[in-house]
Amino acid sequence: MAKIEDKPIIQMRGVTKRFGKFEALKSVDLEVATGEVVVLLGPSGSGKSTLIRCINLLETYEDGEIIVDGIRVEEGRALRQVREEVGMVFQAFNLFPNLTVLDNVALGPVRVRKMSWDAARKRARTLLERVGIGEQADKYPIQLSGGQQQRVGIARALAMEPHILLFDEPTSALDPEMVGEVLDVIRGLVDGGTTMLLVTHEMGFARKIADRIVFMEAGEIKEIADPDIFFTNPSSERARAFLDAVLNH
């Protein structure tokens, strides 16, 4: 395990998110330490994705505050600074179909870090090698399998050298035989010291890589626990019922 520093890199206090009258997040408090790997579990609709999407303000929130690396997450000048530091991997990949795989990865460094295309593409190739698809660099996303596309998505996020990586159900849209290759890549990132928040339904994987499990239901955090304790002896009745449902079928 990477060394976890005590200073929280993410602080969420009383974060409340409403869609109309529906409260998707109900006054959520959460602190994440630098280098920590946090896995969010819970039934669908419990607010896990909404929570991590608030961290780079893809979702706005009505109440409370989120501080990322000392910067308040809100509309305005500082927002792009936050987004430069926070990488995101999406369930539906969201690769840019009009760009080659290589340029999908190089675009951020060129536009945001003002790197030259040559330098950014060279680095993009290295990153694509690292996620095991160097030979696909000059194809377009549509020519790749789902698992390959998601690895491009991870390389694209890594290209910005983020301090924090958010994974929003990165394997949920994949055919079962491709889940493993993506999980392998994610596992390879764990010891790199990057803070990670991961929403997933892969329970075995969660237990292996998480420093802490955050269990959510109905827009609230019901339990925060060490993974071994969470999976063997959860303290909340809700978590017990959830684990029964997902593990014994």
């Binding site: 780079n56 893809l58 792009r80 987004r83 430069e84 926070v86 990488g87 995101m88 999406f90 539906a92 969201n94 690769l95 840019f96 179909p97 009009n98 760009l99 675009l107 951020g108 536009r111 945001v112 694209r156 996020a157 290209a159 910005m160």
Partner: protein, 224 residues
């Protein structure tokens, strides 16, 4: 007098062809300028509509609604005959170009907006998540995808603008139609009008075909 010598009188047509071609050239110049300016103006309006602050958004909505509602001929006549009272005196060509551009911009703005809104939300989110500015997001990600969607309706709109140039004859601009009516009066024969109609068709029929080709190609790639 038989039909051929009345409507398809070769002598008359040959005699007045230089006059018609002069008009055709002005029609093309006016149409081309108004189309290009309308494409640029519409993009600016669409950006204001989608990403501007609230007052800008409402101004754009008002502009787009008004200029889609007002008849081209009415607005053209206002620009040419009414603006001089404010001390703004434009030539027939400038009046027509101004009026056509202002109205075309309103239509193209709506086309761009629809094209941009057809791009999945995930594309915007992915661009934002790597820290792209709105400008870079548009240039590198959204507009290159939207352009494929908007080319057929933009070509359609361009055809309409080119056709509407004929209205400029009302403000004494010697465009193709004006030259043709003049030639008809001089020759006391309607052949020049038929000639003008044929020239309009030669100019616009290929564009109409082009839209059909674009739409077919877009339909194919959408099914892929």
């Amino acid at each position: 007098m038989d039909i051929v010598s009345t409507f398809f009188n070769i002598d008359v047509l040959v005699r007045y062809m230089p006059l018609l071609l002069e008009g055709l050239w002005r029609t093309i110049a006016l149409g081309f300028l108004s189309i290009v300016l309308g494409l640029i103006g519409g993009l600016v309006l669409a950006m204001g509509r989608l990403y501007g602050a609230a007052p800008i958004r409402f101004l754009v909505i008002g502009y787009v609604d008004v200029f889609r509602a007002i008849p081209v001929l009415v607005w053209l006549v206002i620009v040419y005959y009414a603006l001089p009272f404010l001390g703004i005196r434009l030539s027939p060509f400038a009046s027509a170009a101004t009026a056509l551009t202002m109205i075309s911009s309103a239509y193209t703005a709506e086309i761009y907006r629809a094209g941009i809104e057809a791009i999945p939300r995930g594309q915007f989110e992915a661009g934002q998540s790597i820290g792209l500015s709105t400008f870079d997001l548009m240039r590198d990600v959204i507009l290159p995808q939207a352009i494929r969607i908007v080319v057929p309706p933009l070509t359609n709109n361009s055809i309409n603008v080119m056709k509407d140039t004929a209205l400029a004859s009302v403000v004494a601009m010697p465009d193709l139609l004006k030259q043709a009516t003049q030639a008809q009066a001089l020759a006391a024969n309607p052949t020049p009008l038929i000639g003008a109609a044929i020239l309009y068709l030669i100019l616009l029929l290929p564009l109409v075909r082009l839209v059909a080709v674009f739409e077919k190609r877009l339909g194919r790639s959408a099914r892929r």
